[in-house]
């Protein structure tokens, strides 16, 4: 089979590009430790969330010095907490989100950042972020979840340490 010299060159370059891509992502995951959503969050019984020790009373829980866990339940068409009351976390802390859904599949996206996950009934998504700036972030549901999907939004407030009150954040 005859393969043109230019075509061989092109093939080589293409393979190099591909391996390069895989390499950068592998480096990001292993070397730089970019956190990705996986099966760490475990499962819950979506029909009995109210009996769950944390999702039964979703909100912000302190888990260590400067470390917090945020439990969020997504359901048509609100985040709990997030929508009716903002999620409040202190600045310069490590925050782990635990997100699940009480009904259909939703999205949980902190607008303009890569804090973004699907919320699937029965599954718990966990991811960790560092809060490094005092400001408010929007949250949107970015997966179609029914006829008022476009109304499903919320807020995360990163507040100065002295304004933070763990019992306020919906907990």
């Amino acid at each position: 089979m005859e393969i043109h010299a230019y075509e061989k060159l092109w093939l080589g370059a293409a393979l190099l590009l591909i391996v390069g891509f895989i390499g950068t992502v592998a480096f990001g995951a292993v070397g730089a430790g970019v956190d990705m959503i996986d099966d760490d969050g475990g499962t819950v019984d979506p029909g009995a969330l109210d009996q769950h020790p944390k999702f039964g009373d979703p909100g912000v829980y302190q888990s260590g010095p400067n470390e917090y866990d945020v439990y969020v339940v997504a359901q048509q068409f609100q985040f709990q907490p997030g929508t009716a009351e903002a999620i409040e976390v202190p600045v310069d802390s490590t925050v782990t989100f635990h997100v699940t859904s009480a009904d259909v599949i939703h999205g949980f996206e902190v607008v303009g950042t890569n804090a973004n996950t699907m919320a699937i009934p029965g599954q718990v998504s966990t991811f960790t972020v560092e809060t490094d700036e005092v400001r408010d972030h929007g949250i949107v549901c970015n997966e179609y979840c029914g006829s008022a999907h476009h109304a499903m939004e919320g807020t995360v407030k990163v507040v100065p340490d002295d304004e933070f009150n763990a019992t306020d954040g919906g907990a």
């Binding site: 005859e2 891509f21 099966d39 068409f77 599949i105 599954q123 006829s147 999907h149 476009h150």
Partner: protein, 571 residues
């Protein structure tokens, strides 16, 4: 000189029946696309925001599934018949699959469109991905199942045709177009196992109430088992045209037949074990499985990069045959006045752009930034929405005259149409990509929020919305021109030679290439092994998590449900 319709009148009718369904879906779907572009951006809101999701479901299903796949059914029927140089073995079987696929389409479309009239009590506002536990009317799933079985029978029909041909030609290489059809269908059989199991085993019984609950992660994973390879099912008809028709339109011949075969074999092998790349953000799937899917995805770039080479090389060859010279000046020698050529060339150019944004999507880590934002529709309107759709429209200018025996009504209108599509898509897709980077979500009737504003690095959100609205309008006008041209061509007078339909042999033919390329059994076996490797463990762990039938009840997508939920939000 006779053309396809004179040689194979029955087959020509079959192809016309398929293309008619495709073009009607394109027309309706494009109208809904315009509605969406205007609604999302707040320019004009023709429908209520509740009905937006009915519109969006119809747009996705009619364009991504019906238009593309019916065009494929027609094109492949034409390609098999002309490249094997014989009529189909059993025309009754042929009409049976046409009828089944059409009936399925009508059922599914009816279930969706009924959503506009709440009194009927039927609705399927579940979008074309129909993620459970959102539940549609059973008619929606039943129609889908019929449609899929229709495509299976079509494949069977083509394999039978090939078997007949093989009996008479025991030693010949498989003709290139037939090879492309067969490898694509093998990929399709493998890929549709996912959606067939999802619909027939889980969703259909559940929508009838026979089963109470679902495992949403399982059905979603089965969907994407099918959902990525379906992308190649859209793309392979375009590739078939780029490899076998475009070089001729450019005035030359295909560069290399064996390399075209290699590309199709790679697609058969790699299209399916990648679906998990749509689930990078899903809980319940270990990172290692996502990594495997990503690796396969990146290798799947290879056949497309090879295609880019062949397409450009074949065009250059054509241009030089037409007297083109110089390093880049040969570009000027190409037949830019021919809408079929220009449309396909522009489609190829857009595909390159789509390839870049696709590489971003495929990167497991960068994906987090754009997942489910408007970036994603920005990306696939370049790929399926242009590389595929525009190639299909452009190809029709050359193909349809062979089916009707009538000349194309107007080449200038055709040319205006393809250029308009290109320009419209530059506006719409570029703005969608940028809005996505700002975090604007897709699939959202009113992406305007109370608690925050979107911020862009360059330009303003208003400017992006205007571009989406203008681009969408140009695209819609382009489809109107296309439909008009097709209708007007149908009532032209029949002529002896409506179009030059000869396809010259490739520069390097199949003869010198390894025979193993044509060993379809071998490639299928490897493809199956790769799928088993990629999917057994993830599926097993998902089933272990919540059981086959899960523990989540259905949530019907009905207006009544909406009113209650809204009351819940307000309370």
């Amino acid at each position: 000189m006779a053309t396809f319709v004179d040689r194979y009148p029955e087959e020509a009718s079959v192809v016309k029946a398929c293309l008619t369904v495709a073009f009607v879906s394109l027309g309706i779907g494009a109208f809904f696309g315009l509605v969406q572009a205007l609604h999302r951006t707040g320019v004009v809101r023709l429908f209520s925001s509740v009905d937006y999701y009915t519109v969006l479901t119809a747009h996705g299903v009619l364009l991504a599934l019906v238009f593309t796949i019916f065009f494929l059914l027609g094109l492949f029927t034409w390609a098999i018949t002309r490249s094997l140089e014989r009529p189909l073995p059993n025309i009754r079987l042929t009409w049976a699959w046409v009828g089944l696929a059409q009936a399925g389409t009508v059922a599914t479309a009816a279930a969706i469109l009924a959503g506009f009239v709440p009194d009927i009590g039927v609705s399927a506002d579940v979008l074309f991905t129909f993620y459970a536990p959102m539940k549609a009317h059973p008619l929606f799933y039943a129609g889908l199942a019929m449609f899929i079985v229709g495509t299976w029978l079509a494949g069977a029909d083509w394999f039978l045709a090939y078997r007949e041909w093989r009996k008479d030609n025991p030693d010949e290489r498989i003709p290139l177009q037939t090879f492309m059809v067969l490898t694509t269908m093998l990929m399709w059989y493998l890929a549709t196992i996912g959606v067939a199991v999802e619909v027939v085993v889980f969703l259909l019984p559940w929508s009838f109430g026979i089963v109470e609950t679902v495992n949403p992660l399982l059905t979603r994973t089965l969907f994407w088992f099918f959902g990525h390879p379906v992308v190649y099912f859209w793309l392979m008809p375009a590739y078939l045209m780029w490899y076998t028709i475009l070089p001729k339109l450019a005035g030359g011949r295909l560069f290399s037949d064996p390399l075209a075969r290699v590309v199709f074999v790679l697609f058969l092998l790699l299209s399916t074990p990648v679906g998990i790349h749509h689930q990078y953000l899903d809980p319940g799937i270990a990172e290692g499985f996502k990594f495997i899917a990503m690796t396969n995805t990146m290798f799947l770039l290879l056949p497309s990069l090879l295609t880019a080479f062949t397409v450009v090389a074949s065009m250059e060859h054509g241009a030089r045959q037409r007297g083109g010279e110089g390093r880049l000046r040969w570009l000027g020698a190409l037949p830019w006045r021919d809408p079929a050529f220009t449309g396909m060339a522009l489609a190829g150019l857009m595909f390159a752009a789509g390839g870049f944004s696709g590489m971003i999507n495929a990167g497991m880590n960068i994906n987090y930034l754009i997942h489910n934002t408007l970036w994603v529709p920005g990306h696939f309107h370049l790929t399926v929405g242009t590389a595929v759709a525009l190639t299909m429209m452009a190809g029709s200018y050359w193909l349809v005259p062979q089916l009707t025996g009538r000349k194309l009504y107007s080449r200038p209108i055709g040319l205006a149409q393809v250029v308009l599509w290109f320009v419209g898509m530059v506006f719409m897709s570029n703005a969608m990509h940028r809005a996505g980077l700002a975090g604007v979500p897709r699939r959202t009737a009113e992406p305007q929020y109370n608690s925050f504003d979107f911020t862009t690095t360059m330009g303003s959100i208003e400017e992006l919305q205007l571009q989406i609205a203008v681009g969408g309008t140009l695209l819609f006008v382009s489809v109107v021109l296309f439909s008009f041209n097709m209708l007007a061509s149908a009532i032209e007078d029949p002529v002896e030679t409506p179009v030059d339909d000869r396809l010259p042999a490739p520069l390097s033919g199949a003869d010198g290439s390894p025979r193993v390329l044509d060993n379809l059994r071998l490639w299928t076996a490897i493809a199956v092994v790769l799928v088993v490797l990629a999917y057994t463990l993830p599926l097993a762990s998902i089933v272990q998590d919540a059981g086959l039938f899960g523990n989540v009840p259905g949530v019907p997508m009905l207006i009544g449900n909406f009113v209650e939920s809204l009351a819940g939000v307000i309370a």
